[in-house]
């Protein structure tokens, strides 16, 4: 089959090397705006990729700190019981009873309380 091969070498474009080189250079020239655009895009993506790991590490640290702070705050809120005004003022038990019932103390109540304090 190879013996049947036609000699098509006169159609070989590289028999004119100068013309061929001009063609190659012409194609690369015509492609240069697209190549420049691609190089710029690749460079930008590369920069972002370089920043990716430090940025992720920083984000992880921030997340850790935020989580810890949040957990601590919640714990504080849950452990501390609510503080009422009467407790803060250290009001005695009989007086707290009058306040709770919303009534004025009678004379006997006052004698009882004062007597208790004197004792």
């Amino acid at each position: 089959m190879e013996a049947d091969r036609l000699d098509l070498s006169p159609l070989d474009p590289e028999t004119e090397p100068d013309r061929w080189e001009r063609l190659v250079a012409g194609i690369v020239d015509a492609a240069s705006p697209e190549l420049t655009r691609r190089a710029a895009r690749a460079s930008l993506l590369g920069s972002l990729a370089e920043l990716r790991w430090p940025a992720l590490s920083a984000a992880a640290v921030l997340a850790l700190i935020s989580g810890a702070a949040l957990a601590f705050t919640r714990q504080q809120t849950e452990v501390e019981p609510p503080v009422f005004l009467v407790e803060a003022l250290q009001v005695s038990e009989p007086v707290r009873g009058w306040i709770d019932e919303g009534r004025a103390p009678s004379t006997s109540d006052l004698i009882l309380v004062l007597g208790g304090e004197l004792q």
């Binding site: 089959m1 098509l8 159609l11 474009p13 194609i27 492609a31 190089a39």
Partner: protein, 182 residues
Amino acid sequence: MHEADHVLVERARAGDSEAFEGLVRRHLRAAHAVALSVLGEPSDAEDVCQDAFVSALEQLDTVQPEKFAPWLLRIVRNRAISVHRQHQVRRAMPLEWANGARGRDDPAADADRSALRDRLTKAMEPLSAKQREVLLLHDLEGWKHREIGELLGMKEGTVRYTLFEARRAVRARLGAESNKET
């Protein structure tokens, strides 16, 4: 260093000019043969190759890097067919394949080769575009039957037969011309 197509494609995607030039140098001959098989005129084939390579670069993200060559040659063929149609419309008549020698810087020095090229292109004129493509890829570019079949979507046996028919037709035309001359 001979880098595989897929490596060059990846580098060209990132705007590497050397890689793109590598792809051009590796595939330009086949692209030229495909364009020439459709258009018949070397300078038209060169224009089509330039457009096709630039277009391929613009669409480079869409191709699987391992399938670059057949993809590129499809772009070349489609462009060549499109240009052929434009020529037909412009000239309002069928484009004759093989319009003869192109302009040259030094016509005298290349006269013999030019005459041979004219004879060959005229002899290939009656072939179909597919026959010319098979003939040029095999006998000029040295492609194997299998490779041509993969590119053109033909069975290997069909490629062989197409090649056989094309060669026979060209030889008959060249023989007839020689008889006329003597």
